[in-house]
Symmetry: C2
Amino acid sequence: MLLGSNYPSSVLRDRTLETILHERRQRLAQLVDFPVILWSGRSKSRNFPANKYPFRPSSHFLYFAGLPLENAAIRLESGRLHLFYDDPDPSGALWHGEQPKRHQIASTIGADAAFPLSELPAQAAGAATIPVQNDDVRSLQAGVLGRSLSPLDNLQGIDRQLVRAIVQVRLTHDAGALVELRHAAAVTVEAHKAGMAATPTANLEAEVRGAMEGVILAHNMSCAYNSIVTVHGEVLHNEQYHHAINADDLILADVGAEAPSGWAADVTRTWPAKGTFSPSQRAIYEVVLAAHDRCIEAVKPGVEYRHIHLLAAQVMAEGLVELGILRGRPEDLVEADAHALFFPHGIGHLLGLDVHDMEDLGDYAGYEKGRARSRRFGLGFLRLHRPLKPSMLVTIEPGFYQVPGILNDAGNRQTYREMVNWQRLGDFADVRGIRIEDDVLVTPDGAEVLTAALPTQAGAIEDLVRD
Amino acid sequence: MLLGSNYPSSVLRDRTLETILHERRQRLAQLVDFPVILWSGRSKSRNFPANKYPFRPSSHFLYFAGLPLENAAIRLESGRLHLFYDDPDPSGALWHGEQPKRHQIASTIGADAAFPLSELPAQAAGAATIPVQNDDVRSLQAGVLGRSLSPLDNLQGIDRQLVRAIVQVRLTHDAGALVELRHAAAVTVEAHKAGMAATPTANLEAEVRGAMEGVILAHNMSCAYNSIVTVHGEVLHNEQYHHAINADDLILADVGAEAPSGWAADVTRTWPAKGTFSPSQRAIYEVVLAAHDRCIEAVKPGVEYRHIHLLAAQVMAEGLVELGILRGRPEDLVEADAHALFFPHGIGHLLGLDVHDMEDLGDYAGYEKGRARSRRFGLGFLRLHRPLKPSMLVTIEPGFYQVPGILNDAGNRQTYREMVNWQRLGDFADVRGIRIEDDVLVTPDGAEVLTAALPTQAGAIEDLVRD
Ligand SMILES: [Mn+2]
Ligand SMILES: [Mn+2]
């Protein structure tokens, strides 16, 4: 099941998985001098024990083990890989078909040795680990290691050293990862095109979502996160799909595919339900698009991601001043966080095996050592605060939203009474939320947009909806 | 979110949810004289804490609470309902939009009183519960009740009495449930038609799956279980979709929708990839269809479901004798379990809020009190062993499979050496697996097939593929 044909990337067709995993282990070995044990986890039940959610292993395991094995562990030391996995019960073949055996998996991933899980405790002395989030597996980990595990945000000793090392290894992507990330991006582009094409005949948000996720499933991929497909773009984490689509609505779709190997894409487009932006919608769209384009132009090694975020804020503020929604000098408005009234999230985040890559580690991944979250309204939501490096993959996703909880807040009304032309804002009432998000790879001399095949220009978007 | 428009059944449009839930509580109150507390559970994370699987509450909670509330509990006593639920954090409205408040939910479901969760322990004395499967919620339950909880298959005291009572209540479906079950069935029919229509241009199983699940999502429903869409029908629990479809393949699709209210459908069809059954495929298809039709004809109140299962076995044996695959008198072949070489599962199961309804309770639901699983090869897999009653909903799903693990088993080869014409069986090598499954409601004088809008006749199936 997990071998060859179920892992449809060119990586495996080229038999290079073994090589890729070998190189990942070497990179880790240069950073830690203690053994490391990583667990894949177990599937979780939905409404009764036999009805499981589709299994997704821990990303740390997946990064070094390469295959989505359930209930497995790997031990890494000095670049060597030991696999711990129990051969499937032969009687299970009746129901599940022939399953690959431990020795086959070990060969595919280039393990130096393979053992049943029962032998793991004997090889666990002095090993570091990353606690998984499931209570059952976490207590298993503690039992095998013979010690308690601290919470992820307060790890101690070698576990904390391991986190720092894994962040360093996973922060930039190797060729094997990029093949998969490009594949997930390409399928995601197709999904968004299908969503736009399905819009003219759709009465419900759910119909657009069905068209988009149908494409992802048809490519034997899954969704990297719960899709947002909504006419209420102002609800930032809107995971409902029951609203009717009206002709004057904008549809905001934040939908991304995950390859069978676990690598993710994360793309947002916003399009007019009837295929034509109203003048007010188009005006705001152009402001968001300008921020998007300027930010992508600014991506290159050495640039602080926080600078990109502030650039988005600056471009947004300029545009909103030009439209008469904000009043004042754009620099001053950004300094006062006035942009954050309409753009209350960060410009993006790391992307990899997790859609918010390594977010399980809190800010260990997103924040350079020694840095912490800002308390500023306009900066506290920033998920990434590091200088960019070649082979980092980040999202660039500026947005404009009219969130009632923000715009009707009495404190905000007071603070920003002079900076916002509230009456003029009323002319843009048909703009609930707009976001434009692409997946941007840092290259040695700039950036490559992995999702560039999906247009961002307003006119091109309109064409895709109307075709 | 959870109110009104997100619950798109006519039940809620008619404002009858309150009435339905009231009646369910009354039925329970007639069976138990102690208070009952049921928990909804909590969402589970996928690869990092913020990336959750779509939340699905416990079905026992959902049955009596009506809405898919996360992290809630209800207390039932003498037909009265107390809701325990914490009002959403107001700051969450920024990200999640306006959430319904406790008092709004309480009004929608007709609760007699509503409290924050912190007040639950004070009302927990002497209450029975059903342990949920998640460790974290289970320990919460034990903590609130101030006692330990036994495993589900060995419940004691009032918990066991509660299980018996809930089984009795949930075993037959009320009008509110039937509206939802019919809706899930209708969407499932559309999904199967879309799968057939997508087949001629599909190269991969995944493409057919994408077409089917896309329809389910487009109706704002979810999948009641992980779909089976495969050219390897002989792998009974095949949850992979990566195989190429060849012209001579049969596609077996076991796909069912779940309404937002939680009520499920469960349907299987098998169709030829190129739109025409080969003579050998059609011959076996007709045998399975005969079993399917004869079983549905036999469904009526008072009939033992085990009798339906044995009828399927008999009809299958007759058909396979006629085709020259089995040798002997059909009665003797069934007595010897020879049919189970090709039909190694039960004829079906209960269907309701769970696709295997109340399977979390082990055989408490499926097996009449005092009955236990048979050790016979041909009967041990039977999931339901009760006399049928009006308003029970069951699946009827005979099948024929060539499972290598069964047919190549040395013991089976020896036991059935005279009963199977192994050479003749070779003429049917292009039949890996065929199943035909419908959802059948027991009516006062017979049966109603909720999924009857999806054809079963070979010719009609071929037409749907080729159209
Ligand atoms: Mn994103
Ligand atoms: Mn079934």
